[in-house]
Structure formats: structure tokens, C-alpha cells
Amino acid sequence: MCGIVGLYLKNEKLHSQLGRLFRPMLIEMTSRGPDSAGVAIYRNPVPEGQIKFSLAHDQIDFDWQSLSDRLSADLQTDSRITPCNTHAVLASAAPEQAIQDWLRQHAPAVRVVGRGNSVEIFKETGLPEHVYARFELEKAQGRHMIGHTRMATESAVTTAGSHPFATGADLCLVHNGSLSNHNRLREALQRRGIRFETQNDSEVAAAYLTHHLQRGLTLKQALEQALDDLDGFYTFCIGTGDGFAVLRDPIACKHAVLAETDDWVAMATEYRAIATLPDANNAKVWEPRPATVYSWGAGSPLNEAAEPSAFATAGVA
């Protein structure tokens, strides 16, 4: 099972309501995925020269401020940290790789769940409704958001096994389906130096995209390559800094529906997740074709190859 949802607000007047509009979408997918839930929200971009990390720790009372202070002192830079339940968002002017190395050395229990200019990723085990509330997403503002409700089939119900999975700067993936060749693919990617944190099949898909983006492929090229290399069933929604992209496997067993009005574009596993959006009854509604890359966003980065440095710390859970 699993449910995936994405919302892109074309109308700027709605940006202040993003979290409120997205909430029923995610919660409607609870019956498809009551184990855990997660979202990626794109908001509050950091100034040029800074980077934003989404971090997670198992302890809810983890001392994030102290972590940030030590990191700033050691790396001789300014950092700002905003704790939010089991997660925290760190904005820092230090080089990305230096932050990643420092965290690995000094705070190995801290997981990097996302990074980029504007993305923030929050995910936890538990009912989607509870996960949404704990990260105070109802009042979130921004332009777009993707989310996932999980019913685990391939691996354990853990926070690390929850979606979205980061795949690069401001890029992340949510997946509905199951991959049949994830074990061999994981081994092949590990030989190329990609680190894995779980036995999850979707993490392999994220790592696969990361690897090909690192090689210099555009997101569109990487997704088209995935059609050849990933065996199994999937509907992917990929959050990007500017919007989101959707891809279904060539057989298209896993449900997916797209809807668009003048004000918004939405994707979901089932239409009922879209039905609560304003004027949904009059939206253009259609089913994405198999093996076809769809994307939305202002100046979509689908066709741009990123600098290799953009993936210095990619492949994170």
C-alpha cells in the first residue's frame, strides 16, 4: 500500500495556507499507510552562501542548541538551529561537506534527513495525523509540499525507513510500490561508495537517483534511466526546489491521479486525497501515463545537470 501526495500552489495568495490545505490530503491517505508519515516542505530559503540541514534524533529532548553551538565553534562559523520535536533545522554558512563530516564524527546519533536551500523534511512513525501535529505543519507556509503515508512491506517500521528520502540538494523522493531488484542494486551502489542506513527498497531508489545525478545526469535523464534499471512497481513523486515531478513504472499498477486548477496542481495515490482542495470538483483530473515523466514548477530543474558538489552529502536517510 502506501499513499503519496503532492501539492504545488500556483496562486501566491494561497502560500500562507499550504499546511492547512495539505493536512487533509495526507490524513485521507491514512488507510493506505498508518505506520508512519513524512513530508518535505519547501519554505524560507536560506541566503546565498548558507545551507539548510534537516536533522533528526531519536530523543525528543536532545539538546540541539548545544549541538549547534559546538558545530559553530569548531567550524568557526555562524549557525542557527530551530528544533521541532524530534527534528531540527540547521542553517549554517559552513561548507556542506564540513558539516556532514562534523556531524558524523561528533554526533553519530543525529541523522541527516534532508538538505538544500529551502527543503525541510519531517518524518516519524505513527499515524499521519499525529505526525503532522507533532511537527506543527498545519500552520506551515510555502509554495509546495510532498508527503507519504507508509504501510511497510519491505522493511521495518522505523523513522529512518519512513519517507521522504533525500536524494540531493532540495531533492527528495516518496514512493508507492515495491522494488524487486533493490538488494542487488543496493550492493552495486554500495560498491560505488553510496552509504545506506536501512534495508528499505525506496532508499535504494533514492540512492539510485542520487548516484545518477552525481554523474551529471539531469533529473529527467535520471528518471528515464530508472525506467530501465529499477524492477518492480512504483509511483514516485520527487520534490524539487521549484516544484515536483511524477513517474510511474511502465506497467503502472500503482494508482496515481493528477489534478490541476488555475490555483494549484496536486498529485495523489487516490482522488479522495485531492477532493478537499478548493474547487477540486472543477479541476482538470487525469491519470498520469506509464513510463512518462511529469513535472511542475517555476523554472523546473528537470533538465539541468547539477554541480557534482551538490551531492557531497547525498544518499542520506
Binding site: A252, H255, V257, E270, Y271, R272, T276, W286, E287, P290
Partner: protein, 227 residues
Amino acid sequence: MSSLDLNELSLRQINGRLHAAEPGDDNAAWRIENPMGQHAIACGLSRAMSVTVAGNVGFYCGGMNQEAHITIEGHAGVGVAENMMSGQVRVVGNASQSAGATGHGGLLVIEGDASSRCGISMKGIDIVVAGSVGHMSGFMAQKGHLVICGDAGDALGDSIYEAIIYVAGKVDSLGADCIEKPMTEEHRQTLQALLERAGLEKDPDSFRRYGSARKLYNFHIDHAGDY
């Protein structure tokens, strides 16, 4: 016309109300408000009645239908009119995958496009799609008619038995054992009648007919020695 509102009643209550319609209520007209993409709306109806669903529905709407006439004033999710026995289901918008799957009888009309596997394993239902259909439509179709006024995706009629497929537009590819067959006057009349029942004005002469080559499912006497 009686109105049933999914904002006020549960799906189970609404379907229960429709199932409980007494024989004297035959041909009663119902309108279901606020479907909000919910699943299994107006499923398992077994009497002649008219049901209009005012909006987009989720999966399996009108499934197992007998005798009732159901109109969906919107788009339909997976498996609309699945295993329909008789009656009629009309989708004013698009339909998702497996529309009319395993249907034994009745008429399913889709005024928009249908997605993949339309009419999969159909067993006597008639399906008329005003738009196009996705890949693997008519897969293992055994009986009935699948009329496609637009185009058909890959592997049309794969492993087809004795259902008949009519397509006006282009066919991306035919599935295993599915071939084009000549349109005879008898087929033209059958198609004309189906288009009229569906309320579509389309020239039967613009269609091609496809069916089984009967090489895959029939025992071939020349192969007797192979066993």
C-alpha cells in the same frame, strides 16, 4: 428524486438505503451528493433505479451492478462498474484503470478517456469509450464489446478470447493473439446499435474491428502429437 448526502450519511448508510429499496420503489431516482472520491459508492445494487452521483468518485463505483442506471457526474477511480451484471453505468468524465473489469453484462459508457486495462477479463459487458483507452485494454476479454472512439494504447486485446473490439483511432500495438478482422454488415449494425445506446454520434464506418486469432487459447489438432 431523493437526495443522499455523503457529508451527512456514511457510505454504508447510503448503500444500505439503496439496497433496501422495496420492489415498489423500482425506478426511484436517487442523487448522491458530495461523493468526495469515496470508494464503493452505489455498489451491489440489484434493482431498476436511477442513481446520479454528483461529482468525482473513488474506486469500484457501481460495482456488481444489476439493473440500476448509475450516472457519475465526474471522474471515476479504479474499477468503475467492476463485475457489472446488467443495467448501465455512465461516467461523464474520465475513468481510471480496469473500468468494467470482469463485467458480465450491461452497458458502461465513459464519455472521457479510460486508463489502462479497460475491460480486462470482460465476460459479456458492453463498454463504449468516447475518448481513448490506455495500455492492455481488453486483456483476456472473453465476451462482449469494447468500443473505443479514440485511440488505444499498447497491447490492445492481449490474450483475447471471444470479445470484439472496435477502434476508431489509432492502435499503438496489438497484444498477443489479437488481430484486425473485417467489418461485415452485421458488425456495422451491432456497432451502430451500441453507439446509439451510448448516445454517441459517430460513424460506424470509421471503426476497425479487432478480435482473437484463436491460436493461443484453442487446441490445434496439428499439435496433437506434441502431447
